[in-house]
Symmetry: C2
Subunit: 339 residues, 2 copies
């Protein structure tokens, strides 16, 4: 990583390092014009005051930062286990930040990680992330960045994900092959790519099998795609569309919320309504009836994303340019009792 | 926070700040003896090189660090939500580190947080933490520390916890009041105070109600107190103690593992074996049969621990001495179908 030093700023302006240092500390014996010029160049060169201290020690901090939307989803807990396992092997410590699905927190957290001089950053974006200046800032500082699960295609960095559209297509096609026709979708938030991809997979599977897409069968889960979303949407669904025969849910948590509502109200699964989940959370095998779902390799996603990041950190140290990877991990259908 | 400056070291030795600075950077024009003395004093005063940079900016970083054993337990995810909610209100960012129940990682993580100059630290100790030099180091640096859930009584800092012994005592007393006599305990790791307290509560409840304590009914969960522990111990229990009539499990995850085994093997809950959990994870209301358990106020624990920590950070900034608090949050029994 090429870090800007006081000397770089001094050279750029043809003044002494001492003057630059004083200007940055706002000493009264440096004139205003010089201060302004120093600040201008410092900004241009991405100079940050504690780089000095970092340079005194070592260019690497041997820490990586991870920003995830939440730890309540078991999926992210398993990803974190994979990240820590891989990082530990290579002697790296892992700083975790939870954006709680908030863009403003995610931005602050990126700044914090840059300020704390992590060697690289792993991120899964919040549901509300619809601008990307903070990600570009990471890249402009020449800090390796790997996006996983909830990614943004336009950002030029490595990415690890599953094929959400294909997985959803396979799940819904399975339901159709079993004779289900009135298939509801409990979809995720409108912004993130993964929930749009899963929705597209649902719609395409219907259309490819000659079933007309009916928007009134699609229910939005915007309460953190949580258990509660599944419960309240199941209630609404039965009231509004009593003829529904199955649900494809955006996550296992949502599916399990729906199962709870059906169990409480004597609606038989799968005879009255079949339920298909997504992610193969370990609880999906424990609920009654056991949940049919899409297996998503969470732990492996953490390991692979970390491998790529640490490799890019190494290349970066040697000033070797790296070619960004996009790894798509395989998913599979796990067939249980709920369909 | 009183941080050691180059000047403190210079004063201690009666030499110039410039010499101290050069000595720490190992400049050739400072002699070896002086370098050694400077390093000695720097260590004695807990000087760390990037304090300089921190001092240049501000004495506060507006970040707090949290070290937890795992995020896989829903309990800790809820605690984290409480911590972030409270920290966000006061404008603090939260750095999370996961020790994965490893003492060596926990120690490295404490060093990392000190190095990253967090304003305060929240910790729930790993199951393997049986020495506390790293905690004393935090206190010696005058960084506020609050322990929660898995605490160490001998450390002089604020603590937020539940009364694990009392909660376990109440749970087992309830089982006895319902006529259960052969009560097994799936206990936690041998080291942490919470698992010993829950075990003691179990034993005392038996003895106070005239039931002889039988160590062969106690099963150890040492695989991260996980679902798998419950499953494999339930299998062993039925083989070794077929006359057992109930289980008091250290966590809901362990209880749900046992329920899965019983459901798979046509062992009726609660008619053949009753199951009592601990923590009131939201899934405990969804499994079949719904799990009777102890409600543990996870979110509130996060909020309260953070309130105390931020208050101590404020006092610390003003150099006002603070009196450590020990807050014990109330628990309650949640009676469902499994008992």
């Amino acid at each position: 990583m090429k870090v800007t030093t006081l000397k770089d700023i001094a050279n750029e302006l043809g003044i002494s390092v001492a003057t630059v240092s004083k200007a940055l500390k706002d000493y009264p014996d440096v004139n205003k014009d010089t201060k302004e010029k120093v600040l201008q160049i410092a900004r241009k060169l991405n100079y940050s005051p504690n780089q000095l201290a970092v340079n005194l020690r070592t260019k690497q901090t041997k820490t990586i930062g991870v920003i995830i939307p939440t730890t309540v989803h078991h999926f992210f807990s398993k990803v974190i286990d994979g990240i820590i396992e891989e990082a530990e092997k290579k002697g790296y410590l892992v700083i975790i930040l939870q954006s709680s699905e908030k863009l403003f927190l995610e931005k602050l957290q990126v700044n914090l990680l840059l300020d704390k001089r992590v060697d690289g950053i792993l991120m899964s974006l919040s549901n509300k992330t619809n601008e990307f200046v903070h990600l570009k800032k990471v890249l402009s500082r020449n800090i390796p960045l790997v996006l996983f699960d909830k990614i943004e295609p336009s950002i030029s960095c490595s990415k690890v994900r599953i094929d959400d559209k294909k997985a959803a297509y396979e799940a819904v096609s399975y339901l159709i092959s079993k004779g289900y026709k009135k298939i509801s979708h409990f979809r995720g938030d409108l912004n993130p790519k993964i929930s749009n991809d899963r929705f597209e997979g649902y719609r395409e599977a219907l259309e490819d099998h000659g079933i007309t897409y009916d928007p009134s069968l699609v229910y939005l889960c915007n309460n953190n795609t949580d258990f509660e979303d599944g419960y309240t949407n199941a209630k609404k669904l039965i009231r509004e569309n009593p003829e529904v025969d199955s649900i494809f849910a955006i996550t296992d948590l949502v599916a399990i919320g729906a199962i709870k509502y059906f169990n409480e109200n004597n609606i038989k699964i799968p005879d009255d309504v079949a339920v298909f989940g997504f992610s193969n959370w370990f609880m999906s095998s424990v609920v009654s009836p056991a949940l049919t779902t899409v297996h998503q390799p969470a732990h492996q996603m953490g390991v692979v994303a970390t491998e790529i990041l640490l490799n890019e950190i190494e290349l970066n140290k040697e000033n070797t340019p790296c070619i960004h990877k996009e790894v798509i991990l395989p998913t599979k259908l796990i067939l249980r009792e709920s369909c």
